[in-house]
Every structure is written in C-alpha cells, then in structure tokens.
C-alpha cells in the first residue's frame, strides 16, 4: 500500500481552509458545483495535487470540522520489527570547541535531565576531544549521571569522520533511546552523519521537547518554513530518537558541586578509525568581539543605516550593552559588514534575550532569523514597517539621533 489522500466530495464545503493551510501549494479550489450530504449546494471543491502532496496531514487538521479529507499513511516499514524496549536512557553530546564545553551543552543538560526523570532513566553525556577528561566532572555537576569520555590526541579538533564513527559505535553498543545535540555548525553536520550511519530519524533545530511516557516517544517541535509554521515530529519506530536543539531556547543547568556520577573512559582504537578529513588550522573571526551565536544581546543594523559608517554606531550600542553586532542581508550585500554577521534566512538564526533592530524594516527573511528573540527593540523612520509592528518596544525616528541618546542613558544607568 502506498500513501493515499482524498477529498470526500459530499463533505467538502469549499471553505478554502485546507487550501490556506497547505504550505506545499498542493491544494487547488476548483469551480465545481456539488451537493453536500445534507442536500446543500456548494460551488467550490478542494482538489489535491498528489505530485506536490507530502502527506503531512496539515489539511486534515484544518478540515477537522467537516472531516472531508481522508489520509491513509503507509506504515513505516524499516525496522518495523525493531524492539524499541531494549533502548534505554537519554544521551547528550557534550560538544567542545578548542577544549571548552559549548554553552548549548549546559542547556541540553538542563532539558534532558527533565526528560530523563520523566522516563525514569539515566542521563549520560558523551565527550570527545583531547585532554578533556577534566571536563567530565563539570558535566556531572550540571546534571549528567554518567559521562563517556574519549580522550585522545587524534580527537583534538572536530572531524566528521572520526567523531561520527566513535559515537555511532557507542550508540550501537549501549543503545540509548534518545540522543540530543546542540544545533550548532558542528552538531548539524555531525548528527546527520551519525543518524545516517545507524539509520535512525533525526530532527533538526528543535525549540521544544517532551516525552510521551506511554510510548516513550520524544515529541520534537521545531520551526519550519523559516518559523512560519511549527511542526511536532516523532520517531515512533526507530531508536535512538535523535534531535539537534537550538541554542538559547532552554535555560542553563544549575551547578551542584555535590552531584555524583560515573565517568567511563573509552579507548580510541586508531586502527579501526577511517579518517579521511584532515584539520589544518583554525582562523578566529577578529571582526566580532562577541560571538553572535552565544550572545544574549544582539544589536543589528540594516539598510536604514544608509552608509558603512553606521556600523560604528551599532558597535557603540553593542559595546554599551555587552552584546554582539548583527546585520541584515541588505547591509551585508552592500559590503558594509562581513557575512559572518548576517542574521536571517541566508545568514544565522539567533534567539537572544534582547535584539535591537536598527534601520531594519523586517523583511520575512530577516524575521525568520531573529523572530524568536525574547525582546525586540526596533528603531526606524518608518513606523509602519513590519519590524516596528512586531517589536516589543518601537521607537520612531532617526537612528543617528536616537542611538547616541540610548548609549548615553545606558552609560548613566
């Protein structure tokens, strides 16, 4: 059996709810006069283009009231006989960069601690690197019950080949039910390779997680279409369930120096590792005083700055706030600031506590990159632009006049 979806003509009122809901443009409204089961005559009929349909089920939900759309999904056949009950425990990957644990790891520890307690299982962290064994206790103090450590000079820098092989083998041997990673550049690249190796499901960039204690399924909620819709995704018949998690969404775990846990040192057998990639060097971005991904406060400038010098002002504001400097695509494309500062669809996705949008009108591509910020301050000449409407605090006027005043007030605080 393959997937089937159909419109039940005598129930379709031609209301267009499904049509509006379909993000894939797979539904058309036909001019087709037909009778409903209660004898009422209607003029429009929904039609599904099966070439475009992904069987996501959004239309079925939109049509709940009328029940005019019937969806039969094919059962996932792979690993159908997989005994998921053998898989126990929640794991997180304790990403480190240049020997330091990435901040997202502490957020993962906090959220996965909650999940592990709900599932009544242990929380383990996996640490790979060179001379990093001393970090294991820190992970335990922040919530891990157990830490697997691969400490070897060969793992000094992140490389997809060696890291993914070691983690995939450990997963196969220990059988955790959930494996979480930060949705960082490393995490996204690495998790995908591991999931493909062990043939399990991976959900990218989750912003909310939960577990169903009956099915032990992980409920993975993530934005799609640049945050315009949210989707909750399950990996019902495969284990482990893998997900990458967006930075800054969950709170940092509290430290408890009295917490005890188990550290398991693993040997790295060089002969069994196939390493094709070779790390040559790292070049630090010196244009950024504060890293965009880790920043709690970001001050961004856009087309409204009018000239490259405008970023001096943005930098002053960022400095007064201890924040990072961001930019819209327009400012980057104009050559006013390097691409590494770009926030938005073709740049970085950020979710700081405070986002200043200076001279940024709020094109959808920018909004998808920063729309989940807690507090947004917009400064713009155009009070009617989308950013000003969206902002927590909107200030209308000339940013060249306003920002120096804000900097002054900040210094006086």
């Amino acid at each position: 059996m393959s997937n089937e979806i159909k419109i039940i003509t005598e129930k379709c009122t031609g209301c267009t709810l499904c049509f509006k809901e379909c993000i894939f443009g797979a539904i058309a409204m036909l001019d087709s006069e037909h009778l409903l089961s209660d004898g009422k005559k209607v003029k429009k009929l929904a039609q599904i283009d099966l070439q475009k349909c992904t069987f996501c089920g959004a239309c079925v939900q939109a049509c709940k009231k009328f029940g005019a759309i019937e969806l039969k999904r094919e059962e996932s056949a792979v690993h159908l006989d997989m005994d998921t009950t053998h898989y126990k425990g929640v794991w997180i990957y304790a990403e480190q960069r240049h020997g330091e644990i990435s901040p997202v790891v502490y957020e993962l520890l906090n959220e996965s601690r909650r999940l592990a307690e709900k599932l009544k299982v242990k929380l383990s962290a996996v640490l790979l690197g060179d001379k990093i064994s001393n970090k294991a206790e820190d992970l335990i103090h922040h919530g891990a019950d157990r830490v697997y450590v691969f400490d070897d000079p060969i793992l000094c820098e992140f490389e997809d080949d060696s890291y993914s092989e070691l983690l995939a083998k450990l997963i196969a041997a220990e059988k955790p039910e959930i494996v979480l990673m930060g949705a960082t550049n490393i995490g996204r690249s690495f998790a995908s390779r591991v999931a493909a190796k062990i043939e399990t499901g991976l959900t990218a960039d989750c912003t909310s997680l939960d577990v169903d204690i009956n099915t032990r399924n992980l409920l993975q909620t993530r934005p799609a279409f640049g945050g315009n819709i949210m989707a909750t995704i399950l990996t019902p018949k495969h284990r482990p369930q893998m997900a990458t998690v967006r930075h800054k969404v969950f709170k940092h775990a509290k430290k408890d120096d009295a917490r005890k846990g188990e550290v398991i040192k693993k040997n790295v057998e060089h002969s069994s590792l196939v390493i094709r990639t070779k790390f040559l060097k790292f070049i630090k971005d010196i244009s950024a005083k504060v890293n965009l991904a880790d920043a709690d406060i970001i001050c961004s400038g856009g087309r409204g700055l009018g000239k490259p010098e405008g970023f001096k002002l943005i930098e002053e504001l960022a400095e007064a706030l201890g924040g990072a400097v961001g930019a819209s695509r327009a400012a980057v494309d104009a050559g006013w600031i390097p691409y590494s500062h770009q926030v938005g669809q073709t740049g970085r996705t950020v979710s700081p506590k405070l986002y200043f949008a200076c001279g940024i009108s709020g094109q959808i591509q920018h909004l998808v990159g920063m729309g989940s910020s807690d507090i947004i301050v917009a400064i713009n000449k155009d009070a009617a632009c989308p950013m000003m409407k969206l902002a927590t605090f909107a200030i209308e006027g000339d940013l060249y006049e306003i920002i120096p005043h804000i900097v002054k007030s900040l210094k006086e605080r």
Binding site: I23, A204, T235, T346, K408
Partner: protein, 261 residues
C-alpha cells in the same frame, strides 16, 4: 572533473506576506524557486568546471514540476540534469532523501565532487548533504565558504564556524555544502537559456535507481510529522513616545525592569 550539484525546488518566501489579522503566513499562490543556497552550489560547480574542465550535472529529487529548477541551473552553466521523481518518493524525510539522492548519484556514474547548498529554506535542516555523503561513504565538509585549492586529488576548503573558520583538507571524491559567502551567482547567459530550453532531462524513478522500496518515501522515513501548527503570534508591542532623550531613558528603564540588561 565530474561535478554533481544537488538542488531542491522550494516555495518562494520572498514575496510571502504576513496576514495582518492572524499574524500567520499568507500561503496562497506561492511560486516555486531554486533553494537560495543551491544557487551558490550551482555557481561553485560551474566555476570549478571553468577552472579544471569537466562537466556539471545537476540532480534534484522532487515532483515533475522541479524540472524547471533543473533548467534554471542549466541556464546558469550546468551541462546536464537528472530529475529524480517518483510517487513512491513522496513524504521522504532527510534519511530517505539522503538514501535516494545517493542512489541517483551512484547511478549517474563517476564523480569527483558533490556540491549542495548548506540547507533548504523550507525544511531548514542542513541534514541531507552530510547524509548523502554518509550513504555514499565519502567524506564531507559542511558550511564551506571558500575552496582554497584542489591539487593532486586533495581539496582544501574553509568551513565556516560560529567563532571563525576551520581549514580542512579532504581527498576526492568528497561532498561539500556551501554558504552564501562562497561566491556571487551569475545571471543566466543567452547561450545557457537556449541550452536549458533544448535540454533533454531524464526522469529516474525507484526502478531506474534500483532503490530498496523500504528505504524511500514515507516508508523509509523514520521521522513522522505528528502535527503542524501556527506559532502563537507575538504579542503587540509598545510604541515609545516623547522627546528622544525621554524615549531613551524610558527604554533603558523598561529593559532594566525586564532584567535583560
């Protein structure tokens, strides 16, 4: 040099507007475009061909309409294209898509480098590129912002990271996913547009690929969408008024009250 570029057709969100009343996306009549990141992948493929010779083959998996995305790539310098399309591919998640694309690339013959965009703007997963590399058992470098050199079958590329960039060396064949900084895509040439009109684009289905039916489409997808919903709209904000100095003071004190500064 045999260069493969994987692309995806996505809904164009550039002209999408927010419904003022509901705060949700207006989804009617959205046109399809080549995924923005894939434009850089196509351009980089064509530049490599210009430097080292060879040919660029563009591959997409999608509905028959995705043919237009492939023709767009040909108009920008790609030599040929393959449409991977079959009803049984529908509903594929990133694992099933990686498997299917890897099968298609394998069937397309010998290759030296595979280029993908960093991620597609509809799903935003960034998972398919590395997934394809794993399925083909070749190395990959994600987030490439520059190919420094290709010599003696070794490629050196710069991988963009949060705090700078890593320089990575990898033997070919290899796969890279590229970010915007790597190049500026060219416009279609007249010659390219003529070629794109004339191009014969084969369509490969599950049978042509010799794909395992348990590994494609919804059947081969471990992840399933349980529900889709609109995010709660952001609560309306506050417009500050008064003289500039007053507004600045008000803002700072409000931010202090909210404990964000």
């Amino acid at each position: 040099m045999n260069i493969i570029v994987c692309i995806k057709q996505v809904p164009n969100t550039t002209n999408v507007q927010i419904d003022e009343k509901t705060g949700t996306l207006k989804r009617e009549g959205v046109e399809s475009i080549v995924n923005p990141f894939d434009e850089y992948a196509i351009e980089e493929g064509v530049r490599l061909k210009e430097r080292f010779g060879g040919k660029v083959t563009v591959i997409t998996m999608g509905p028959p309409q995705a043919d237009s995305a492939l023709r767009s790539a040909i108009s920008r310098g790609a030599d040929n294209a393959i449409l991977v399309s079959d009803r049984s591919f529908a509903g594929a998640d990133t694992l099933a898509t990686s498997y299917t694309l890897a099968k298609a690339i394998h069937a397309a013959g010998k290759y030296d480098i595979i280029i993908c965009g960093k991620q597609a703007t509809d799903g935003d997963t960034a998972q398919v590129g590395p997934g394809v590399a794993e399925k083909l058992d070749i190395p990959h470098i994600a987030y490439v912002k520059k190919i420094e050199s290709i010599e003696n079958n070794l490629m050196v590329a710069e991988r963009m990271m949060e705090d700078g960039y890593d320089v990575i060396e990898v033997p070919l064949p290899a796969l890279i996913t590229v970010v915007k900084e790597i190049n500026t895509p060219r416009l279609p040439s007249l010659k390219g547009m003529l070629s794109s009109k004339k191009a014969q684009i084969p369509q490969w289905g599950a049978k042509e690929l010799g794909a395992d039916k348990n590994k494609i489409g919804l059947t081969g997808s471990p992840t399933q969408v349980m529900k889709i919903f609109s995010p709660p709209p952001r609560p309306g904000g506050e417009k500050l008024t008064g003289h500039v100095s007053e507004m600045s003071k008000t803002l700072v004190s409000k931010l202090k009250d909210l404990k964000v500064i």
